[in-house]
Amino acid sequence: MPTLEIDGQRTEVPDGLTVIQAAERLGIEIPHYCWHPGLSIAGNCRMCLVEIEKNPKLQIACNTRVADGMVVHTTNEKTKTAQRAVLEFLLINHPIDCPVCDQAGECKLQEYYMDYDRQRSRFPLPAKVRKKKAIPIGPLVMLDQERCILCARCTRFLDEVTHTSELAIYERGDHCEIELAPGKVLDNPYSGNVVDICPVGALTSRDFRFRARVWYLERADSVCGACANGCNIEIYHREGRIFRFQPRQNAAVNQYWMCDAGRLSYRDLQGEGRLTHPLVRGEDEFLPSTWSSAIGQVTGRLGDLAREHGPGSVGIVVSARAPNEEIFLLRRLGAALSARIAALSWSPPGAFHDDFLVKADKNPNTEGLRLQGLVPDGEVDQLLEAAGAGRLAALVLHRTDLTAWRDAAVVRAALERVPCLVVLDTDRREASEYADVVLPIATYAECDGTFTNHAGRVQRFSAAVSPPGEVRAGWLVLAELAARLAGGEPFAGAEAVFAALAEECAAFRGLSYSALGSDGRPAASAAT
């Protein structure tokens, strides 16, 4: 392992690392535009020029491999002069339209100008090369050629990651521009990533554009729930509203990327159909209720019916949209009621999937069901049949959309027949119209929890926004139901529920929220 010195700090790093990576390990950021750890090395922006002793010329840190005895200077006068010069070159033809640019606040031109340049313009305004602005190049992406610094991150992503090559660089010199290839549209399933990796305002999101200034947004680490892959994400939000999802680096799951469907799935979490208050059936219609009254009615009726009709008279259906913690509590509830538990993992037939990130399974936690011993789609139809035949006293539906996922006529007949129907869900669906009690619960953006992805990796998400209205976290509601029906202390939080799960279930043994960290860990059965 070579030992080198960067800005006076000595460090030993693995062979094959570049200077920019070695510096990163020391906490030294060498400014750069074109270099991206997920793409090939282009070496074109020249922002990462550093002095390496014994080299007559400055070297680019992104393409220089470390060598034993190397002495690197990233902040000396020679390097600073080069950094200032590159920034000046980048800015002479830049439109400097920050006040109307969506990238402002997360723009590497702005940041590096403040960090490394701060000089007055020596270039007359009318002399700037003009190019085309605000060109829609795909459903998700807007192109501004004047703001482009031609780092070629986008073209490399489209050449090397998606292999679709929709964009290319045309023309030469300071007339170079990014442009769609003839006959192409930037509409591949991963198109939104080019917006994330564009270091300036050349590629902006048509979905997010002009909706919020980024410096007003807060972010929370989460996991995308749109399919079984579990891409790590950051949720950008403000005052209870989600504005965008962006991928968060996880080498074991999604590297630096996410798909467009996942990126836009934040919309599903704050749709028109959200349930906001507990509902209890009155004479003809639902009446808003309080949590204590609704919980009281559910525990009272379920407890009575289970006692009255004996084991197997209560049915529980849980979907693969439920986090591990909720599945665990439903199982505990089921045990207290001697209930039959059926699991469901439904995806639209023929749903898009590929061999990169997008999975055919559109549920975030199918593997989580399996690891707790529930077989997806195993017993649902028998339960519905029992309900339809009048052999079921009560049915609890947890995060399911039964009429959409099963034969609607069979489901309706069953739901009409069952004497007591309790629905826990985020949104109003057809099945909830048949319910006696509806308990509104939080989306994964509104509560803490874990999903287990298709490969058995257990990953945490945490509450980004507060749930609307009276909505409560699913684990909190279920913990209270279970405590009332089975006895015992209520849980202090989702973390405690997970600890109980890890205690009970072999697949999760040894795991905890702190052990999972921000990158997640493979479940025991998946690890082997």
């Binding site: 090395i41 282009a42 070496g43 074109n44 922006c45 020249r46 922002m47 020029l49 007559p56 010329k57 400055l58 680019i60 393409n63 002069t81 080069a82 010069a85 590159v86 000046e88 070159f89 980048l90 002479i92 033809n93 020596r122 270039f123 007359p124 002399a127 090369v129 610094i149 031609l150 290319a168 660089i169 023309e171 030469r172 010199g173 300071d174 007339h175 170079c176």
Partner: protein
């Protein structure tokens, strides 16, 4: 004058024809190399000759060849750089058009030396006649058993293909050439890796200039010692000098490396046109720093010209008499490099355009130029040097810097007057938008 070798075509009519070429000893070098030398011996011979690349950088040819991996499962390619595009340079063109077999011999021997079986001649797109003559020569050589399978019965195979460029200066840069040959945009590659390890189609590749390869058969026939004895030992050999501009006899001259610049201009090229006074000379093509009239007592070899503050480059000697405005000359060159910058690296992409704009306002006076523009020019040029993937940025910055430094008073005069003090020049259009 010494015997002409590289320019034998001047003495022998129709030398481009195979029958004429062989009648004058053609392909003897090839036969000798392939039948009596091992590839290693040839590499050693070229190393011993001290032959240095004639494309502009002057890198030792034998050393370049020795960078090839000793063991490789991949094919080794030879890419012949016939993309002669440096303004003021027209030496390779003469060889290609008038003596293509001399080049082919150089290619065959060099390919044998580096164990290559496929060579590509990347020829400047505008050289339509040259491409035609090369194709004809290749066809002749092939039917004579000098190319293709089992050349001269030695078991050595070699195919040579002609690939025409599409008009970009940058494709003369060796890795830009390789990219273009692969069908891609002509972008120079970041190095390392170097072409000898990872070149054309990811395979070990040697890129050599036309004139460089044309020297090889002569080295084989006459020996490395002979070659080294011509001119200075560290950059020896016969050399083609391209003289253009205000001389009585512009043209391509074959002279020993190290011939004094004054002798080339005043003896061989007949002196300054119309008896005018010499003002400036660019010794090595448009990208090299200019010499003033007082600086021409320099030997025209790589090391001497470099010591004098410029470079031999492509040996394109551009002579300017007293009527030439130095700001205008710098502008014309600046405009060229702005047009030809590939746009990959920030300092070159933005700097070439900026240089042209400052030179334009000095020369064509929209009134906005100030005396501070001279320092601005020097500063921009300084920031462009040594900071990019390839040498085009330096190629644009060096002449701008040299003109503005050596003729500073003339530049300042432009700013003070608000116009060019020389004959009125019609302003060429700003860079056109491509259709």
């Amino acid at each position: 004058m010494a015997e002409r070798l590289l320019l034998r075509c001047r003495d022998i009519p129709d030398l481009r024809r195979l029958d004429v070429y062989t009648a004058h000893g053609g392909y003897q070098a090839t036969r000798q190399a392939l039948t009596t030398c091992s590839p290693e011996q040839l590499v050693d011979m070229v190393k011993a000759s001290n032959l240095r690349g004639r494309g502009g950088a002057g890198f030792p040819t034998g050393l370049k060849w020795s960078f090839l991996p000793k063991q490789t499962a991949k094919p080794i390619y030879l890419a012949v750089n016939a993309d002669e595009s440096e303004p003021g340079t027209f030496k390779d063109r003469v060889i290609i058009e008038q003596d293509p077999h001399q080049l082919l011999e150089g290619i065959i021997i060099s390919a044998y030396a580096i164990r290559c079986h496929t060579a590509y001649i990347y020829i400047r797109g505008e050289f339509a006649l040259g491409a035609e003559r090369l194709e004809a020569a290749i066809a002749e050589a092939r039917s004579a058993g000098l190319l293709g399978r089992d050349i001269l019965g030695t078991g050595f195979d070699l195919d040579v293909w002609v690939h025409r460029g599409a008009g970009a200066y940058i494709c003369g840069e060796e890795t830009g050439l390789i990219e273009s040959l692969e069908g891609k945009r002509g972008y120079p590659r970041v190095k390392p890796p170097f072409p000898a390890v990872h070149g054309l189609f990811g395979c070990p590749t040697i890129v050599n200039n036309v004139e460089t390869l044309a020297c090889v058969p002569h080295i084989v026939l006459r020996g490395a010692d002979w070659f080294r004895s011509i001119g200075p030992e560290k950059s020896p050999g016969p050399k083609l000098f391209c003289v253009s501009g205000h001389v009585e006899r512009p043209g391509t001259y074959e002279l020993p490396m190290g011939t004094p610049l004054r002798e080339i201009i005043y003896t061989h090229a007949g002196g300054i046109r119309g008896g005018r006074k010499l003002k400036a000379v660019i010794p090595g093509g448009a990208s090299m720093p200019v010499f003033t009239a007082d600086e021409i007592d320099v030997s025209m070899d790589m090391d001497s010209v470099q010591k004098a503050g410029s470079f031999l480059g492509s040996a394109g000697i551009m002579v300017m008499d007293e009527t030439v405005c130095m700001v205008w000359a710098a502008f014309v060159i600046g405009r060229f490099f702005h047009h030809e910058s590939c746009g990959q690296c920030t300092p070159c992409r933005e700097g070439t355009g900026w240089l042209e704009k400052v030179l334009r306002r000095l020369e064509f006076g929209d009134g906005s130029a100030t005396a501070a523009d001279v320092d601005l020019l020097l500063n921009i040029a300084g920031n462009m040097m040594g900071t990019t993937i390839c040498a085009l940025s330096d190629a644009a910055a060096m002449p701008a810097r040299a003109f503005a430094t050596k003729f500073r008073a003339e530049f300042e005069q432009h700013a003070t007057l608000g116009r060019c003090p020389f004959r009125p020049v019609v302003e060429p259009p700003r860079r056109h938008a491509h259709a």
